[in-house]
Symmetry: C2
Subunit: 478 residues, 2 copies
């Protein structure tokens, strides 16, 4: 016995040298009685998610059996059926579909891009941007002119005439939050074509929106706005590595000829749906909190992180409430929004109907920043409610939720904005997100089960607190 105990102690000493952080979830010496109760309920949410969570299985089902879900596609239609069925299965009080017409852009045949350099043919990983027109059926061949920003492109004038304009602005990798780096670059993708179409450019190619160097073209939306259709030019993304190489090759041979072929097109708007389900509020059934993500995805991967994770986490909020016998005071409404990626039509229709029907939305939470490890929430609300949500920091910190900050919330819930509503965005760690974003690499295998589950539990925890404290009897009166 003694020898064995020594061995065990030895092994634990080795372990304890490596291991240090405490599980401080219920270390609540400085908590009030109410906070202790809330802390216990939050711990139960996390325990349930980590032991009996459904989100990972749901996500595997969505990404494997439905797959990509571009607005207007067969996949999107299947996803609506999938979502409605699942909402019914977990026993929400009511489930319904909201019809909405959505853009219907199709990629067509696989795109081709290449050029010759020093006698060698360089094949470029390429994809059309969502909303772009096609090239002529035999493609476009033209010289390339490189710029680093929309501002630089605006100054091109005649120099762009007859050229393919190459937008090669890089992410600022020194920004800790990668969404901020995305924000600094995405204008090139969205407005590149409309910026240089008027100069007679033949097409644009855009460096993929990602932090690193990889071989995936990352798609995403672009728009022509209200420029004349005569100025519409094809827009495509090339991989970041291809962009690095092309930039080098152009320095050696500024006259090299780039070939681009794509056959995408925009069909007439297609019928689709938001999927909506709710748990009726026990005290204030007419006060609504929305929890959602977007059901559509781009077509290249299976839309696991964007936004499959947001969909399954949103539904798991309802599942975790029910599983823990928490009866919300206010109505909790789960919404799978359609068409976030290239139109936001579902979100706009949801907000329009809410207004038409005189619904009172007191809060909304969106998960559309990937399924990575939890970091916090950002809040778009009045100062009083921002302060209220920040007062829950000590309840949330044990779960890595330290960043409870003032900021934006989410594209799909933003049309609900008014002076009273508290809009919240779930913020997981952002470091890996743009590795997969809008690319063929955004697949189920990139999602970690625990990180996904921790996200669901993080979301239901803030929903629980918002439901309980956002509107007290006092604040309910106008």
């Amino acid at each position: 016995m003694k020898k064995l105990s020594l061995l065990i102690i030895a092994s634990l000493v080795i372990f304890s040298c490596k291991q240090t952080q405490k599980d401080t979830a219920l270390n609540s010496a400085d908590f009030s009685k109410q906070e202790k109760k809330d802390s216990t309920n939050i711990k139960h949410f996390f325990n349930t998610a980590l032991k009996e969570g459904k989100a990972y299985d749901w996500l595997e089902d969505l990404t494997t059996n439905v797959g990509s879900r571009l607005s207007g596609s067969e996949g999107a239609a299947k996803a609506v059926v999938w979502g409605e069925k699942l909402m019914n299965e977990i026993g929400l009080d009511s489930v319904w579909l909201q019809p909405v017409m959505v853009p219907h852009w199709v990629r067509g045949e696989k795109e081709v891009a290449n050029y010759s350099f020093k006698g060698k043919k360089i094949h470029v990983p390429v994809c059309a941007l969502g909303g772009s027109i096609a090239t002529p059926s035999n493609g476009i061949t033209a010289e390339v002119i490189e710029v680093k920003s929309i501002e630089e492109a605006e100054l091109l004038g005649e120099k762009a005439n007859g050229k393919i304009v190459f937008f090669n602005g890089r992410f600022d990798n020194t920004l800790i939050n990668t969404f901020k780096a995305y924000g600094g670059c995405v204008g090139q993708r969205f407005a590149g074509a409309s910026t240089v179409g008027k100069f007679g450019a033949k097409a644009i190619i855009v460096r993929s929106m990602t932090n690193g160097i990889d071989d995936y073209p990352h798609t995403g939306s672009m728009g022509y706005g209200d420029i004349p259709t005569s100025e519409y030019i094809p827009s495509a993304a090339i991989s970041s590595r291809a962009a690095e190489n092309l930039s080098k090759h152009l320095k050696e041979n500024p006259r090299l000829k780039f070939y681009l072929k794509q056959s995408c097109k925009t069909l007439p708007d297609a019928p689709s749906h938001n999927v909506v389900g709710e748990i009726k509020g026990s005290e204030n059934p007419d006060k609504i909190m929305v929890i959602g993500g977007h059901l559509d995805s781009w077509d290249l991967g299976d839309g696991a992180h964007d936004d499959g994770t947001g969909i399954v986490q949103s539904l798991e909020v309802a599942y975790l409430l029910k599983k823990n016998n928490i009866k919300p005071k206010n109505t909790i409404r789960i919404v799978f929004f359609m068409n976030e990626e290239n139109g936001l039509r579902g979100a706009k229709e949801y907000a329009r109907l809410a207004k038409v029907n005189g619904e009172i939305h007191i809060g909304a939470l969106e998960s559309d920043a990937g399924g990575h490890t939890p970091r916090g929430f950002s809040i778009d609300a009045n100062d009083k409610n921002i302060h209220l949500l920040q007062s829950w920091k000590k309840l949330l910190a044990p779960y890595g939720l330290h960043d409870i900050t003032k900021g934006g919330s989410g594209a799909d819930i933003s049309p609900l904005k008014n002076d009273e509503i508290t809009l919240v965005g779930y913020r997981p760690d952002s470091q890996r997100y743009f590795d997969y974003h809008h690319a063929a690499s955004d697949t189920f295998d990139k999602v970690n089960k625990r990180e996904l589950e921790l996200g669901s539990a993080s979301m239901v925890s803030i929903v629980y607190l918002m439901d309980k404290y956002l509107y007290t009897n006092e604040t309910l009166k106008p």
Copy 2:
């Protein structure tokens, strides 16, 4: 122009709805002049790591061109040469090797495990545990008895006689910090064999130490302590999925026969080295701070997360100091420790020599918890110094370093422990770590470049602050 501006604004509005967290690194309204300077230097460390960091390339080189590095192996010897060369290349003031004799255990032929169930042969993913003896050359076939813990195994007595004891204790997945779940299970792996050898068990098989269900056997160290060699029995790990299945099958057929064959053995101790390099302190060259990780790894993967990341991050601490022209007051010593995994011989020898040579170590920092996104540091020091390090929270929080907690530090620096030294463990996010830990899946592709670089920058930031504030002129005097 107007139309285009509208387009750009539209795209940025879409973005700003999705994006919210601010890059608050230099948002220092409430900082003192000194804190502003420190905040600026820390920002420079992060900028340099994210723009010109070397850690990722070094790690690719180590994992690809050296590969796995089990103590005593050819890989470990190559790693020593690799480390010494690299330390010289980045221009440390001096670089040397510390000879140390290390255990030399070899796995031998690929292990085999299987059993028949309902007429079907079930092949079990299996690997020997480090330090285990072999089975007879024709293997062992025996009935299986399942337990969930060392405590339960202690009670087996005669029931274990002639059996293979199956340790199937699962990680407690409700623990947010996965290292804590590991701590609750690892005793089975380390001391399982010595616990049931005395009962006449023929072998043990242990459920792999991981949170999830996968098909990898995860190896790791075990020990026989000072039990008689007649009680030594073979020890192996089986994959978590195989463990789940075996447990089910045993319920249906408690008499099923399990076959295990492994040919590992322990050779005489082998010569090896710690690799040491330093930047001489400008004011107190005799005061030393150690920054390190362990150069050895298990043999199944390429030791990317355990502990290739710790090695390259430790070296990058020196690189980032030099690149930013920070001349440390105290001597900064980078140590690549040998043999953390199955003996800690390098760490013990380093500490022994430090004592023999009368060296004064004021601090030490270890990175041996994977290369994932930064979360914080844990500190093993006197209360004054714990408080000091915690006072830097606001400088570190903008980089996601919120968890500055009292706790352990690291296995390799723990032999340096005394009343004065401040020992610190770097704590990245733990959620994914045990997916790869000690398994064939611990490979370079699991490491994210930005997360690795953020870790290096986190480490150099706390080293910079410790160097500056840990020992002032006042506290230097005894």
